[in-house]
Symmetry: C2
Subunit: 571 residues, 2 copies
């Protein structure tokens, strides 16, 4: 590509509204431009990277035996009603009406469309397993789109869906996808981890997230200091403490705490250790439980893990907190004064709360707390469950080492869906036994556009992006010095450009009438891995200069061997 016939659109200044480095650099490098909140145009330089990522994803999916197809962006409501997601999905699902006022959605994923397809097209177990993928535009109406293409509303996803008659067959495809994803992220050049994940609202039974470690990540990823255990925060188990509950040492007291509505206020005003306090959260119970609300207790310095909580039988899913008004009318006290003593609700306490003694909690009377509460002596021990998020220093669930927390960007996710969709939509095949069997499903997603941002988060310096060769917009930059004054420089540059292009190498030829400093800055900002600088003086010595973006190393190379030198670098 000749710079003079290209839209470079690089920016010197960092745009004020871009918070994370990838967003800043994608704007500065002329990769994307915002069209509206969460909606971006991929400029030529960004699109080149995107297309390379897409091709790597496609190649590895094909290699793994998945079959490509293409489903529509706009999906009819009826299949979403059938799966139940029309009701369950929050406002991220953009529901629209066509000119005839019929309901549709802009697809955030395609489980319904593919399940509907397969129930019509497949009739026998002999046709399975099958695994389909598409690389396609998705829409999620994020409440707060941010970080550029990292969390945009419109994005490109590779989504795959597999169909099986046995769990073993699903496990085999799941393992194949695990391997394919590892190959994809390795080829793209990402430092990633596959971590155990919860299946969340999409349903199903088993899943892994592929997380790129970066400070700007929005997810907490949990690692063991001494094993390869890795999970996301929703999934990571907080083991039951090994220590026994200590015996009571103090008498329970009802204390006036008019200004202590939070744990922090209680701890500060009464000088008690936060580990001796308990937080009480009121959530809605399932409709058929016979209860309206359930109280959840975690230690004052811990936080509730909503995913763990909503999986408990008593508790409504998705988790819904009681409003202040609901708490007042159900308990007679506000949210700042709640506790287990004299509480007329079902109570579930965290494993760590179960071993506490002489602890403080609200008295279910506004402005009052009980101090020195002890289980069994003052209140009977309720149901115990793991309902908190792990914290650094917790024991690793596999028994090896302790937990570390790092930030991650989720770039892929593989699920064993089971029969969630196929059952709801009655997608069956005839089995070997002649009977109809509900198909077992897996689904496998990759955030194609997000990979681009994640790659930048891991590789940049103060001059700009440092692309891995595999996804660089151009592999080689040719920078001629004062080309418009030197015929020799111009001829060498033109010849080199033509020859490299003929070798199938993506070359950026900066033929603009710009100062060398501007050309260098642009090539570095957009992150071209290999640069060839052509200057008259060096040419007089039969040489050109080669520069490697990643480490800034320079090297003189014989002009007549530069093509082979570069070909060698670009292999």
């Amino acid at each position: 590509m000749r710079a003079s016939q290209y839209l470079l659109s690089t920016l010197k200044e960092t745009p004020a509204d871009a918070e994370v480095i990838s967003h800043q650099l994608m704007l500065r490098a002329g990769m994307i431009r915002k069209v509206a909140s969460g909606l971006y145009t991929w400029l030529p330089t960004g699109y080149r990277v995107l297309k390379k990522v897409e091709n790597i994803v496609r190649e590895e999916m094909n290699k793994a035996g998945a079959i490509e197809l293409l489903m529509p962006v706009v999906q009819p409501a009826d299949i979403w009603l059938e799966s139940g997601r029309w009701e369950q999905y929050g406002p991220e699902l953009l529901r629209i009406k066509d000119r005839g006022a019929r309901d549709f959605v802009l697809g955030p994923t395609h489980e319904e469309v593919i399940t509907d397809l397969l129930r019509n097209e497949v009739s026998s177990y002999k046709q399975l397993p099958l695994n389909f993928f598409q690389i396609q535009t998705k829409f999620r109406d994020e409440v707060r789109p941010r970080f550029g293409v990292m969390r945009s509303r419109e994005f490109i996803m590779k989504d795959a869906y597999s169909f099986h008659t046995t769990q073993e067959s699903l496990q085999k495809t799941y393992d194949d996808m695990y391997a394919a994803y590892s190959a994809i992220f390795t080829r793209v050049g990402l430092d990633f981890r596959a971590v155990q994940a919860d299946t969340g609202s999409i349903g199903g039974s088993w899943s892994h997230e592929f997380q790129v470690l970066a400070d700007s990540g929005e997810d907490d990823v949990i690692f063991s200091t001494e094993s390869d255990y890795a999970a996301n925060i929703e999934k990571a188990e907080a083991l039951a403490p090994t220590a026994q509950r200590a015996a009571p040492t103090k008498t329970m007291e009802l204390i006036d705490t008019p200004n202590a509505k939070t744990i922090e206020e209680l701890v500060n005003q009464f000088n008690i250790a936060v580990e001796k306090t308990v937080k009480t959260l009121i959530v809605k119970a399932t409709k058929d439980s016979g209860h309206q609300f359930v109280a959840l207790l975690v230690r004052g310095d811990h936080t509730l893990n909503e995913v763990k909580a909503e999986k408990l039988e008593l508790i409504a899913s998705p988790l819904e907190f009681a409003s202040e008004q609901e708490i007042l009318s159900a308990i007679g006290a506000g949210p700042g004064s709640l506790g287990p003593v004299n509480l007329k609700l079902p109570v579930i306490i965290d494993r760590d709360v179960a071993v506490m003694s002489d602890f403080s909690a609200g008295a279910n009377i506004d402005g009052k707390h009980y101090f020195n509460i002890n289980w069994q002596r003052d209140v009977s021990l309720p149901m115990i469950a793991d309902i908190r998020n792990v914290v650094e220093g917790d024991k690793s669930p596999d028994g090896k080492g302790t937990l570390l927390i790092k930030r991650g960007i989720e770039v892929g996710h593989i699920f064993q869906l089971g029969t969630k969709y196929s059952k709801a939509m009655n997608a069956t095949v005839q089995g070997e036994d002649g009977q109809n069997h509900v198909m077992i499903m897996g689904c496998y997603g990759i955030g194609v556009t997000r990979i681009v941002a994640a790659a930048i988060e891991q590789r940049y310096d103060d001059r700009g992006i440092i692309w891995p060769d595999a996804i660089a917009p151009f592999k080689v930059a040719i920078i001629p010095m004062n080309m418009h004054k030197s015929e020799k420089v111009q001829q060498t540059a033109e010849k080199l450009y033509t020859e490299l292009q003929a070798s199938g190498i993506d070359v950026f030829f900066d033929d603009r009438k710009e100062r060398p400093g501007v050309m260098f800055a642009d090539a570095e900002l957009i992150g071209i891995p290999h640069t060839i600088v052509i200057g008259e003086r060096n040419l007089d010595n039969g040489e050109v200069e080669y520069k490697y973006r990643a480490d800034g190393d320079k090297k003189m190379v014989r002009a007549d061997s530069i093509i082979d030198f570069i070909k060698n670098k670009c292999q």
Copy 2:
């Protein structure tokens, strides 16, 4: 691809709701499935074809110097308000609201987004010309989606937009695009014609349509019998008759015609030649004309050309017909009794009407017509214009031969847009003179998904599709006879499959336990150009059978030279 690991989804029966052959064959060949009205999933076989078409389009666009980027499907309303299309575009433009009740559209084209981009990114004439393209999902909420992907609501389009400071530069890019389009449609294997076209509601000054000739086409394409003149029906000029108007021979009479509300009824009941009758149509006038309505007169056997009419200064664009009620209150007579005599509206008559004499038309009194009207004698001659559609036998506008009408499928369209969008959106660059100049634009569209259907309309037989090699889903089918009983057949087939694949040839290996007849029928239905049949008896003679889909020719080929034979065919 092994058939056993693929979703073939071929159908024996022709689906009842598919009217045209391409729709029928795309369903039968397992290329597409309907998700909802005008929304389709591209099954693996269809997707393979689509992807090949897309790649050809991309290669030729790149070759022609266009730069690829990607704009969002969902576009904010504000830029559509700025261009004026928010108001002008009919209900085909799907207007939606996001979770915050902000207005958006699902993009049917991207003039607004690209113009907004360029006005921000380009500041100097030195950066131009630039030509951008994308291959992307579009949405048009068709009132009656039909013919499968030929007129669907969601479809894939290649749209390109060029920016210039001079008309000469636009013309150069327009010519380049004309050449690129010709190369694309030739490579895809279509029998097409570039025809002069009207620019329609998208605006602009000059355009060509690329039409694929097929009986199922929805467009009328006009050709000369003796020259290369070709135009679409909207554009084709009806020349003024060379004959002079004949002198009046009869006296004008007011006749009772209570049962003649249409030209057909008038002609039948009173035994007059249809060429001696005139149709009067009432349309709305432009707001600033000082008139509310305008009467348009065409000969009884001609039809109004709405595009020609709405270009006339007096007439509102888009063309809007007066309602029956509006006609009654403006004229005092219903639509079945209108004519030029005593009509208190501005009147525009077609060139052919201007040379009529002794003709009949409504009397502007319900149930009455004037017979033997003559211009100037009975009513003064109104404004004359070309406002009718041409008919077969008309003289060619270039003076050579007469006109023929054929049916066409529009697969591409190139426009010289001029400054329609850049002016409305104030997209300027600084010129050589230091002043700001509104950029001049071109736009260039290809219906990527429609090409697939159009290719089928041109190449099929009673066994199925006959793909050109360039876009066939698979180039070669390997059909082994009774493979599961013959180790020799199986080994030969497997080896051939592996070797052809290694040569980069798309092979469909029918490894199913099916009867040969089923395999042949499927390979022919999905239109694989080259078939290799492997049978034990032929192998005993060291031979395999080669069959060419297009003509059904069979040929025995030495088994040890079949790879070279096929490679040669697939070049």
